[in-house]
């Protein structure tokens, strides 16, 4: 196995495992910058995964190759609808954000499995037929060195995720909407005084997180797991939450942290195919991503500071 194949294998599997985390952590970034803590990303991903798999199974025969992409949209929309629960509870009903987010996590897996049982009469779905396969960018794949590593047989959703995270960074820091959103997360009173609709902005933040979390779940289901069961989404949402904190509530930070988690995860999965790594006992490879995360956090980041009003209810005085 030469260096080239090793690198391209590493990069492509890093991309595959990072993509769901990138989308979902971006969602978390938007929700928390608007001031709503969102620990419910796991639940949102579960609903996205569920919806995309059901959609994929139902329409694969008529939509063909387009199915997984439309599955992303469906997963996103369902995630958004599901996140409405969190939005209403925290913004209008003064709920504690952590408890409300936990409700999403508690609600989604049984709801998904219940619906699967009600629709298919069994505990888990069939495997989908149209999944995200490998994709080569025409033209780019032929660039020497870089082409085979980054653009040949790679994951198309991963590139979409990277583009989206740059776009979302730009929106958050360079547009009026982004400034207003952050204002609601930093100091809602001041934002309100300036005539910004705090409730509206916070709804936007949570719903965007629902959309992106749903997309994240849909990517995971259609690129990695291939079906939906109670164990489809187990912890990815929490990893995305960690990536968001790791990335200091910044879209680009969240993306880089997700790429790092994806890299570490893929090392533990493809490690046995790689020289040197295949001599390390698997347990070290398995726990490495988590240990490294803690170590890096302690060494280089220290205290990660959330937006000032993150997790605080804002109740407009009448």
């Amino acid at each position: 196995m030469n260096l080239m194949t090793i690198l391209s294998l590493l990069v492509s599997s890093t991309f595959v495992y990072s993509t769901p985390l990138i989308f979902t952590s971006l969602g978390g970034v938007y929700s928390e910058n608007s001031g709503i803590t969102n620990v419910g990303l796991e639940g949102i991903m579960t609903m996205g995964a569920f919806a995309s798999v059901v959609f994929n199974l139902t329409f694969a025969s008529s939509l063909g190759k387009l199915t997984p992409w439309l599955g992303l949209v469906v997963g996103g929309v369902v995630g958004m609808i599901f996140s409405l629960l969190h939005a209403v509870a925290t913004i209008n009903f003064h709920a504690d954000h952590v408890i409300s987010g936990t409700v999403l996590n508690l609600m989604a897996p049984p709801l998904g499995v219940f619906l699967v049982k009600a629709i298919y009469d069994k505990g888990q779905t069939e495997n989908i037929t149209q999944s995200f396969g490998y994709f080569s960018f025409p033209g780019l794949a032929d660039i020497p060195v870089i082409g085979p590593i980054f653009f040949r047989n790679t994951s198309a959703p991963a590139w979409l995720a990277i583009v989206v995270s740059i776009a979302l960074w730009w929106i958050l820091y360079k547009t009026r909407f982004g400034l207003r959103l952050r204002a609601c997360g930093e100091n809602p009173q001041a934002a309100d005084t300036m005539g910004i609709n705090v409730y509206g902005m916070r709804y936007a933040g949570v719903l965007i997180s629902g959309l992106l979390g749903g997309v994240g779940g849909a990517v995971f289901a259609q690129a990695i797991s291939g079906n939906f069961s109670i164990s489809t989404i187990v912890g990815q949402g929490f990893m995305a939450l960690a990536a968001m904190i790791f990335g200091k509530w910044n879209p680009l930070g969240g993306m880089l942290a997700s790429l790092f988690f994806g890299f570490a995860q893929s090392l533990s999965i493809i490690g046995n195919q790689l020289p040197f790594f295949n001599h390390i006992p698997s347990v070290y490879m398995q726990i490495a991503p988590y240990v490294i995360t803690i170590v890096i956090l302690v060494l280089f980041f220290g205290k990660s500071v959330a937006p000032a009003a993150d997790g605080q209810n804002y109740i407009k005085s009448k």
Binding site: F93, A95, L106, P110, K303, G311, S317
Partner: protein, 377 residues
């Protein structure tokens, strides 16, 4: 709008939340043309209709009481301990291992030894997160999530590679522990129709009492609560924030570890490979939220959850309704507890206006904003 005393309201809100949760479950069942009345009646009869059911319900509640107390202690100090599953798992494996490796010791030595070892294991895991938080300000949400995975894979490795083969049946299951390391009591089990009920429940009741005593009657408890309520004021008053962070996480992990111990020495009598984070960790979190972080609330909530979970199994076999409906009802109940502000609007305090006391389980950062939190309710 009904006029009630604030105290009555405090009791009415969870009761209404519970009823509303059941109604949500019923609506979902109606949509998919299952019969909710049949479902709920089969649920309650199988959980409470015979001695075996009652015994299993109590058995199910035992570890939840411990993990819920664990969550509540950390949340009193302003932490979100999401690492309960890992801490409980560490306690479970450790206690089983200690018993299996020392089967010849007399019960009076072995049982306490195994319990203490398990509790220390849980406390150790949580202590890592607490120490990092105290020393470096590292966010405990991330560290406890990461520790869940580290414990999950480490336990797999320890059991499959490190534990002596003599202690295992196969790679995934240990041998059953001898009676002198077990929490089972023969007369108790036979009284409750040969269910898996065990002495853990008595320990859990003692644990709940200790939790109440610790939080309300001791200086440590007071300091933990004040650090959670306002870390700056507490430091100004001369309390060590670092020390209290560490104490509360260690105590929290110790209780979670105890939850794993009763699961091992009481319920299963062995350890087997876990592929995902332990249920009792997540359920303990829900129980603590429903119980509002009080000892009595946690006990009642743990029993309610256990009735649902044990009864749900019966409901699935008798009425043929998917078990998941139980978890949906639980999630809905917690949702209504979370929006208790709205439920509170149904009632009017019959004394002078008192601001709504919201759930006190949130992390310290969820400090109420002064201008916004007026007594509008």
């Amino acid at each position: 709008m009904l006029k009630v005393k604030p105290k009555t309201k405090k009791i009415l809100v969870p009761i209404i939340s519970i009823l509303a949760g059941f109604i949500v479950g019923a609506l979902i069942m109606l949509v998919w043309s299952y019969n909710p009345i049949e479902a709920y009646s089969s649920m309650f009869t199988s959980a409470l209709g015979n001695m075996n059911g009652i015994g299993e319900t109590i058995r199910e509640a035992t570890p939840l009481i411990f993990t819920a107390i664990g969550f509540a202690i950390a949340s009193n100090a302003g932490f979100f301990n999401i690492g309960l599953p890992g801490q409980a798992q560490a306690g479970w494996l450790t206690s089983i291992w200690v018993v299996l490796a020392n089967q010849n010791l007399p019960k009076i030595v072995l049982l306490p030894l195994a319990i203490i070892a398990g509790v220390i294991a849980g406390a150790f895991v949580a202590g890592i997160a607490g120490w990092l938080r105290a020393q470096f300000g590292t966010n405990e949400v991330i560290t406890t999530i990461m520790l869940n995975y580290i414990v999950l894979y480490s336990c797999q490795y320890l059991m499959q590679q490190v534990m002596s083969q003599k202690l295992r049946i196969d790679t995934d299951t240990t041998k059953t522990i001898a009676p002198n390391g077990s929490l089972r009591i023969e007369w108790l089990s036979s009284m409750f129709g040969d269910s898996r009920i065990n002495a853990g429940i008595f320990l859990a009741l003692i644990g709940a009492f200790l939790y109440w005593y610790l939080m309300k009657k001791t200086t440590t408890g007071f300091e933990i609560r004040s650090v959670g309520a306002n870390p700056y004021a507490s430091r100004y008053a001369g309390m060590s924030t670092k020390k209290n962070i560490l104490y509360s996480m260690i105590l929290s992990g110790g209780f979670a570890g105890f939850g794993g111990v009763v699961q091992g020495l009481g319920t299963y009598q062995n350890y087997f490979t876990q592929t995902t984070s332990l249920d009792i960790g997540w359920d303990g979190l829900s129980v603590a939220l429903l119980g509002g972080g009080t000892a009595i609330g946690i006990l009642l909530a743990a029993f309610l959850f256990s009735i649902l979970k044990i009864g749900g199994l019966g409901m699935q076999t008798i009425a043929g309704i998917p078990y998941e409906i139980v978890s949906i009802v639980i999630a809905a109940i917690i949702f209504f507890v979370a929006i208790q502000y709205v439920i509170g609007l149904l009632f009017k305090n019959n004394k002078e206006k008192v601001p709504n006391s919201e759930a006190e389980t949130g992390p310290a950062t969820v400090s109420k904003t002064t201008t916004s939190e007026g007594g509008q309710g």
